[in-house]
Symmetry: C4
Subunit: 385 residues, 4 copies
C-alpha cells in the first residue's frame, strides 16, 4: 500500500482483484473508445502557471456544492454496478465519502438499495435518477430517495438510447446477461472478491428488483431494463421531477451550450458537463474541452460541474481553473474500491486531495475557490491568435 | 458470431478464412498506403455534437439515392474480384443488399457475370463501368446491363492508369498473374473457401472472358486487361455513355472541386467523392477531407455521395453531416462476405445500420435526412479561426 | 570510452554503474513526468538556420555570467545528492568544472560540505540556497558560503512545497528514508560504486548534519528536512538574504513573466528560468517554451539563464538564440559523474562544448555572444501567422 | 528481383549485402538524426490533387538541367565512398545513369578517380568539388575534371566543418579510421562484396591518394583529410573557381533565402537546396520544407534543384510541383548499387521513373515541365488561413 503513488496504481491493483467482466465494465467506453480516451488525454493539453515566492500557508480546499459544504470540490459520481466491484460497494464508498466530507452519489443501477446505503452510512448522500418509461416506478424512486434523506437529485439526461460497449458484449454483460464457464473462471481466480460476495445479501439491483412492477428476479430484470430507458425524455419531464423532489436538482450529461441554456431554464441548481465517461456518444468531444464554452454561456446563472477523465488532483485543478464549481470522479474511486474496499476509496480521495493541494500551492494559490483561468498558462503566441 | 461487435471483428474473421492473396487484394492501398490510411483516420478528427432531452422516438434511416428508395443511405461499392472472397461472392452480396433494401453495385471486374447476378438475385442492382479501349466491348457491357435491368450506371473515372499495390505485386496478383506453390499453400490452409469454390462455376471474370474480343481464357484475359484501361478517357466520353445507357448515371472518382463542376456539366445524376479506396493516387487527400468543399461547390446541383474509409455507422453519419447524400462501403461488406458469406454481408449492414441509428439519436436527430453540419462539434476556438 | 558520442551514451553508462535508487533520483520528474519530458522534447520543435560560405575561423565560446568569465555559457546546476552518484561527487564535479572554466553550483542538499568542496577544489564556485524555516541555519549557511569564497548565491524559489516523484516513493527515498533488502541488492550489484563510497567520509548531507539545530544523524535529519522547506518564503525574504550575502544573487525557479518582473525589482543579478527539471509543478510548460516571453519582458534589465532539458550543445545554442545569457546543465553532468567520475563530467562538458562550437559554425556564427533569434528558422508560413 | 516494389526494398537488400560500416555510412545523419528523418517525413505532409477524365496519352518526363537534356528531372547526387558500397561503385552508377539518360555526379571523396570513371563510362558526368585548404590541389582537381570532359561542376558549400555522425564514430569510420576485428567480421559475413573488392584496384580515394601533396597511403590520407575541409570558404572563392572551370557551376548546400540570393550574385547556373542529407546541421529544417520560399526568392533568376529525403517518384513530383527544376537522389541509388550493382542503380531509376510517370498521369498532367503548385492539394480551410 505504501507503493500506491497515484490513481493508476489503484487501477492496476483493482485489475488483479476484480473479476474481468466487472473490471472491464468500469474500464470501457463505447465503440472505438475515442471519446473515452480523449476525456483523459485532453487534460494533458492544458498547462499550468507556476508562481513562486508567494506565502503558501493556510491553504484550504473547502467549498460548497449546490449550497452544501464539501471538504474539497470533488463528488463521487454515480456508477452502475458499484456493488460488483466489491461486496457492499456502494455502502463502503458512501462511508469513505462521508469520512472525507465529500458527496457520494448513488446510482439508480446500484446493487445496494437506497435504504441499505442510508441505514449503513447514516449520512445524507445524493441520488442519481435514470428516467425510465415506468413513471410510477420513477415516482416511487423519488419518494424513496426523499424518505432516505438524500440531499440532492442528479438526473441523467444522456442515456435515452444505449451506446454499445464492445467489452460488455464480449463479456456477455449486455442485457440479457449470460452466465458462462468463462465467468466461473473469472470469479474463481478472484477468491477475495468471491468471499466478500458470499458475505453480503447485496447481489442484485437493489433499487429495482422487487420495486419495479413485475421485476422479481434476474430474468425479469434483464427483460425489464432492456426496454426501460426512455427515448421520449425531454425538458418538460424535468419540471415534474423537480416539483415532486422539492430539493436541489442537478442535471447530468450536458455537453452542448444550447442544452446548457435550456437546462438553466428548467430552474435546476447545477449541471454536470459530461459525456457519460465516453460510454455513450463515441466521437463526442471530451468533457474538459467543452467546459470553457459552457461556463462562458451559463456560468453566471447556474453551478457548472464536470466529470470524465479525472485521474489526479492536477486534473481537478484544471477543471476548476476553467470554471467548474466542482468535479465528479467515477473510475478514480471505483479503482480504489475494487483494489481495497472502503480504505481504497479513502486512499483515492487522499491522493487526489493531496495532489490538488500541492498543485494549488505551486500555482501560488491558497483557496481552491480563488482558482481561475489566470492560473493556466497560454504561450504569448497563443494569446496573439 | 455473438462476439462480432464491429466491422473490425469481421475483418479479423475474413483474414482467417480467405486465402492471403485475395484478402490482401482487398486490404491494400497503392505505394506507401498513406491515402488508404488517411481515409480511415481522418474520420477520427471529426467530432459530434451530443444533444439531450430530445424526444427520440420514431427514428428513420430511409432516404433516396438517385431517386431510388433505400433503407439507409448506404450502397455496396463495386469491388473487383468480390467472387474470390467467397464463392459466388457477388451473388451473395447482392442478395444481402436486396434483403436490407440498399443498392448493390456490380464491378466490371466481377467474377459472377451481370446475367448470373441478375438471375440469382431477381432484384435490380447498379452496374459499374470501367471505360476500356475496346469501345465495342463497352457498348456491349452497357447493353447487357440494360437488359439485365440494372437501375444505375456507375462510371469509374480514376483508373486511366493503374496505381501500384505492393501487396498484389508480392502476391503475384499483378497482370499477368503467376500461380506458384505459395498460392497452393495459401489455398490449402483455407479449406472452407476451397470447398465453396469447387461448388461454383463462377471462377473467372464473368463479364469479360468469352465476351471481350479474343478473350477466351485466363492467359488471353491477362494480356487483354493489361492494356485495356483507357488513358484517353475524358468528359466527352461521358456523353455517349450517358446516351447509350439512358438511365441514371453516377460518376465515381471525383476528388477535386474543378472536376466536380465539370461532372455537373455532363448532366450526370450523382457523383461519388472517391480516391478509389486509396488504391490509385497515393498522396491524394482522404475522401472525407475533401467532401465539404465539393459539397459547397456543387451540392445544390447534383447528388454527392462518397466512399473511402467507412468502417462504422459513426463514419456514415459524419459523411452525411458534411453533405453526402449517401456513402458507399467496400471493404466493410467484403470483410463480412469473406468471413461468412451472405449472412456476413447482412451482419455488416446490420452493424452499420444500428451504429448509425443509435448515433443519430444521441445527436438528437430522428431523420437521417435532417443531419447537417449543425450536428458536428467545432470548439468555439475553431469557430473564431 | 571512445564510443561515447553524446550525453545519452553517458546516461546508459551511469545506469549501469549507479545503484538504482540514486540513478532514479536524478532520472525522474514529478507525478506523470509530463513537464519533465516536455523540457527535452520542446527543444526538437526549434529549427536552426543553416548558413554557408561564411568564414568560420577564430570561433569563440567565451562569455561572462553575472560578470564572471566562463569558457562557455554553461554552468553546472545545483543537484541534490550529487555525492551519491559517485563518491565525493560534488568535489569531482567542481574540479571538472574548474578545469573547463565554467561555474559549478553546490546544492544545499549536497553530500560534500561547502568547506570540503572549497578545500578540495581551491577555486570559487556558486552556492545554492534553499530557504528553510530555521532562519538561523540559513544565516549560518550564507556566512559559511561567504567564508568559503563562493562567488555567487543561487536562491531557489520553486520548492516551498514538494512535488511528488513516484520513483523516489517506490525506491523508499522519500522522507523518512527506509533501508530495505532491495537497497542492499541495488548496491551489491554496483561494486565499483560501493568501493568508492567505502573510501570517503562524505556519506551524508554535509551542509546539514551537525550544522542544523539538533540534526546529528540520519534519523534526526529526515525528521528535520520533512518540515523545513518554508511555504512562507516570499519576495521580502530576498532582500535580507541579498543584504547578508553581499555578492551576486541569482534567483532560480522563475517560469512566469509576472514573477520575472518581481524578481527584477529585488535587484538580483540574474534569474534562472526553470521548473526544477520537471520535478515540481507537473503540468507547467517547459523551460525553453517560456524563455522567449520572459526575455522579452525583462531581458534588458537582468541576465536571464535557463535550465531544464539541456542534453546537447544544440540545445544550448537554441536557448542562447532565444535570449538566454547562459544555461545550467543538471542531469547531463550527473550522468557523466555517475558513469566515470571527474573524467565523465569533463567528457560531458567536452561533448556539449564541441557540439555547441560546430553547430554555431554551421549557423554561420563565430562568437557565441552574437547568437540571436536571427539564427533560428521560421517558415515563411509561420511568419505570416 | 520481381519482388522489389520500391526503394525501401532495395534498402533491405543492400543491408544484407554491404558490410555494416559502409551501409551505416550511407544510412545515417548527424547527431540526433532529426533533420535526416524530417527530410523524408516532411514529404508526407504534402498532398496531391487528383484529376480525372483528362486524356493522359503521350506523357513525357524529359527536361533539361543546366541546359543539358535529361530523360527525367533526376540526377545522381555525389556520395562519398560510393565505391565501398560495391566494387567499382562509381563506374557502375555512372554507367546506369548514362543508360537512363540522367546526370551522374562524381564526389571528390569517391573511390574511383575522375579518370577511371571517364574512361570506363565514355559519357560526360558532373563533378562535385569540396573546397579544401590546399588550393593547388583544388586547381588540379578542376583541371582534371575539365580534361575528363565533365559537363558541370557541383561545388559543395555546407561542409566547412564536419557534423558528427554517431554511427561512423561507433563503426570506427571517423578520421583516422581504425581497422578492428569487428570490421573483419562485418566483411567476412558479406562474401559477395569481398569477392568484388578483390577483383578491382579501386580501393582507396582515387581523386586524392597520389594526387594531393604528400598523400601516398591510407595513413597520410586520414591525417590530410582531417584538416582539409576549409572553414574560410566564402562567396569570393566561388568567383575564381567559376573562372578556372569555365563551364556550368552548381552550388550545393543552400538552405536559406539569404544564401540563395547571394548565390545568384555569383553568377552560378543552379543551386541545390540541401542540408547534406541531414548529415551536417542537425536541427536544420528539411530540404523540402524550405524549397518553396527559396523558389519564391530566386526561382526566376536561377535553376533551383533540391536533394534530401527523395525515396519515390511521388517525392520527385512534389519537389517539382514546389518549383524544383530537378532533384538529386543519393541514398536511393546507393541502396540499388549496394543491393545489386549497376542493374540495381538502373532498377532504382526505373522504379522512380515509373512512379513519377504514373503519379503525374493521376494528377492529370502529361509533361513533367508543366507541374506546378496547382497540382498540390490545399484544403479550403488552409487556403483561408
Amino acid at each position: 500500500m505504501s507503493s500506491v503513488c497515484d490513481i493508476h496504481d489503484l487501477e492496476q491493483l483493482a485489475r488483479r482483484r476484480v473479476p474481468k467482466m466487472f473490471f472491464d465494465y468500469a474500464d470501457s467506453g463505447s465503440w472505438s473508445e475515442s471519446t473515452y480516451r480523449a476525456n483523459e488525454t485532453d487534460f494533458d493539453l492544458i498547462k499550468l502557471r507556476q508562481r513562486v515566492a508567494v506565502d503558501m500557508t493556510n491553504r484550504s480546499l473547502k467549498t460548497t456544492l449546490v449550497g452544501q459544504e464539501a471538504s474539497m470540490p470533488v463528488a463521487l459520481a454515480p456508477v452502475g454496478l458499484t456493488g460488483m466491484q466489491h461486496a457492499d460497494g456502494e455502502i463502503l464508498a458512501a462511508r469513505a465519502a462521508a469520512e472525507w466530507g465529500v458527496p457520494f452519489t448513488l446510482s439508480t443501477m446500484s446493487i445496494c438499495s437506497i435504504e441499505a446505503v442510508a441505514e449503513a452510512t447514516g449520512k445524507p448522500f445524493w441520488f442519481q435518477l435514470y428516467v425510465m418509461r415506468d413513471r410510477g416506478f420513477i415516482n416511487a424512486l423519488i419518494d424513496r430517495a426523499k424518505a432516505a434523506g438524500c440531499s440532492a437529485l442528479v438526473v441523467t439526461l444522456d442515456l435515452q438510447v444505449l451506446g454499445q460497449r464492445h467489452k460488455d458484449v464480449r463479456n456477455g454483460l449486455s442485457a440479457p446477461p449470460k452466465f458462462t464457464p468463462k465467468h466461473v473462471w473469472q470469479m474463481a481466480t478472484r477468491p477475495g472478491w468471491c468471499l466478500g460476495m458470499l458475505g453480503t445479501k447485496n447481489r442484485t439491483f437493489g433499487n429495482i428488483v422487487g420495486h419495479a412492477k413485475g421485476v422479481d428476479d434476474l430474468g425479469s430484470l434483464s427483460a425489464w431494463t432492456a426496454e426501460q430507458f426512455d427515448p421520449t425524455l425531454n425538458w418538460k419531464d424535468i419540471e415534474w421531477i423537480k416539483e415532486r423532489w422539492g430539493g436541489p436538482v442537478i442535471l447530468k450529461g450536458i455537453l452542448d451550450t444550447e442544452d446548457a441554456r435550456l437546462a438553466v431554464e428548467t430552474g435546476a441548481d447545477a449541471i454536470i458537463v459530461s459525456n457519460h465517461g465516453g460510454r455513450q456518444l463515441d466521437g463526442a468531444p471530451s468533457s474538459i474541452s467543452v467546459l470553457p464554452e459552457i461556463v462562458d454561456a451559463v456560468g453566471d446563472k447556474i453551478e457548472v460541474m464536470m466529470d470524465g477523465g479525472i485521474r489526479s488532483g492536477q486534473d481537478v485543478l484544471k477543471a476548476l481553473c476553467l470554471g467548474a464549481r466542482g468535479v465528479m470522479i467515477g473510475r478514480a474511486f471505483v479503482y480504489g474500491l475494487g483494489a481495497m474496499g472502503q480504505p481504497g476509496v479513502k486512499l483515492a480521495l487522499d491522493i487526489i486531495g493531496k495532489e490538488l493541494d500541492t498543485t494549488m500551492a505551486l500555482c501560488g494559490e491558497r483557496q481552491v475557490t480563488d482558482l481561475s483561468r489566470m492560473n493556466l498558462y497560454h504561450s504569448s503566441q497563443d494569446q496573439r491568435g
